[in-house]
Symmetry: C2
Subunit: 341 residues, 2 copies
């Protein structure tokens, strides 16, 4: 058992805008004791996701706010290291919402088994997990791209955006990805098969977007908000669909402009018969997760769908990796590898 020390990262102070290292604290302590009918788990991989930023605030969202001192939340690939539960044995690998900690206990509810023979274990946190299902459900159930339509997605090399683009391409749409920097843009074109890739950092970003969308935009998969939305707005076609699954730009306290941008958005909604639909992947999970998993697992297995991971080693480095992810420094799904304890 490589790690016999229990470690956790807790919310030390609420961030004001963009988080910094002082908002987190690494605590150590005694190992949790296994419940009489439960499980003791060791974390192998922790997923870092933008929604965690929202949980750090003390305000209304789709999940309750964390209290100060609470373990940072998150989904993990964990190994069962001791079991008093009839359905799980030592050595089983499962997905669990255990958060930023080295070990956890569980009553066995809400776990999902992983099998390394289907796909690498870490994909359960990315392309074959909640980020992947976010992409699939938002695009399939809300965006509904049709042959020849144009689909635009930002944060396009991330775990959601990269699958949105690949699924849209598969549906016969023209796919336009937005990402930060030339290396990510090359990856979109050369590896993921996007039709166009635009670096949002270039000064003529709005012009590049217009050039990349000569027929306008039919689906804008909104996962960033802020300036990208205002650049997309003038190019939306009539009856365009806008699944809204994230607003990472607001997490740093940015996103608000000098003037009121709401009237222009409302006017576009009205005059273009737009559909804007916010969603959280789990609202569709009961009905659609199995379909997603079947369909995308085989495409990942046969290499039709590609994915990329950005792995940070060691729980103590999770805060730095998370802060970097919120600024777009990750290149692929952000994960923390705890396998070395």
């Amino acid at each position: 058992m490589p790690s016999a020390i229990f470690k956790k990262v807790v919310l030390a102070a609420r961030p004001d805008g963009r988080p910094n290292l002082d908002n987190f604290r690494l605590d150590t302590g005694p190992m949790p004791s296994i419940p009489s009918d439960g499980l003791l788990l060791r974390t192998l991989y922790l997923s870092l996701d933008p929604y965690m930023r929202g949980r750090m605030d003390d305000r209304r969202s789709y999940a309750p706010a964390l209290a100060l001192g609470d373990v940072m939340p998150g989904e993990c690939v964990v190994e069962v290291i001791a079991s008093n539960h009839a359905e799980y044995s030592r050595g089983d690998i499962v997905l669990a919402q255990t958060g930023w900690q080295s070990h956890a206990i569980s009553d066995g509810r809400g776990l999902r088994r992983l099998d390394a023979r289907d796909a690498p274990l870490t994909t359960g946190l990315g392309v074959l997990g909640m980020p992947g299902f976010t992409a699939w459900s938002g695009l399939t159930l809300i965006g509904k791209p049709r042959l020849g339509e144009t689909v635009v997605v930002a944060a396009a090399t991330g775990p959601v955006g990269s699958l949105v683009g690949q699924l849209a391409k598969k549906a016969g749409a023209r796919t336009v990805g937005i990402a930060g920097g030339p290396e990510k843009c090359r990856y979109l074109m050369n590896d993921l098969g996007f039709d166009a890739a635009i670096d949002h950092r270039v000064s003529d970003f709005r012009k590049q977007l217009a050039i990349a969308c000569p027929g306008g935009i039919d689906v804008y998969f909104e996962n960033v908000g802020g300036t990208v939305w205002s650049a997309v707005l003038p190019h939306l076609n009539r009856f365009a669909r806008v699944p809204v699954c994230g607003l990472i730009s607001q997490n740093g306290g940015a996103g608000a402009a000098e003037h009121d941008q709401l009237p222009a958005t409302m006017r576009a909604v009205l005059t273009l018969s737009l559909t804007m639909r916010g969603f959280i992947n789990f609202e569709f999970a009961d009905e659609h997760f199995p379909t997603f998993l079947r369909s995308v697992t085989s495409d990942v297995a046969n290499g039709t769908i590609k994915y990329r991971e950005d792995v940070t080693v060691g729980l103590e480095n999770a805060p730095r990796a998370f802060i970097g992810m919120l600024q777009g420094h990750n290149f692929g799904k952000a994960l923390v590898d705890l396998t070395d304890g």
Copy 2:
């Protein structure tokens, strides 16, 4: 033939914000001559609708902008006074998009016959016409109120809002109407059967709205925009639906706040899984107009559905009535009666 003088109201100058009388000009001229295979029409009633304000601007919308000197657009109840068309005879009454003028010619396309035995002719411009269909389609196809849900609509004594409220009530929803002034609010409660009515002019409007919606808001039928939207936003429930059919508050150049209100709206869309869907009634007309007309005509005939009209006499008074309507001075469907020539 009461009117032998041809009169029309044209766009004289583009308004900057709220229109005034200088934006319109009453022209007279020779009577149009009947086409060899067409119709000569005399206007009986002209409909005044908020969308006309948008047509006066020189900017992108769902219909082309008017040129200066063009006849103001609009739907009318007209009488066929001469016919060279096989399908229409002198004396027929039809709906036609002939605009703000005393007479018009037609090739017979795009007309809809009215029968005064079904319902009063003017209802073809209101509860049984495009405003009514806007209410029906937005509520039925987008809002989808369920038993016990709360539906809020502004401009609730207008032709759209009053039908939205009555249809929502019929669907078993709690209905909350917003209107300007105590007289309109009494009408909502006493005549239209709304569960609550709120005067948007009172200083504690936001508080009144909260009190009227103890279970939150499930459907907000957006036909005004601006401050009502920002008051509604904090009360929207998860999975709320927002059909957007008009933004009359923007027509006067209002609607923009000091600070950027877009981030708060986008955040609500995301965290509450909201559906916002702009629509123009005619996008649903081919498929649904006959169903609407059948269903609502019988309810109007048996008195289950009530309507109210605000009639101005004389084409020369149309600009004043239109300007007043944009400020909410009308009480019921705004019409101009041209039957006296």
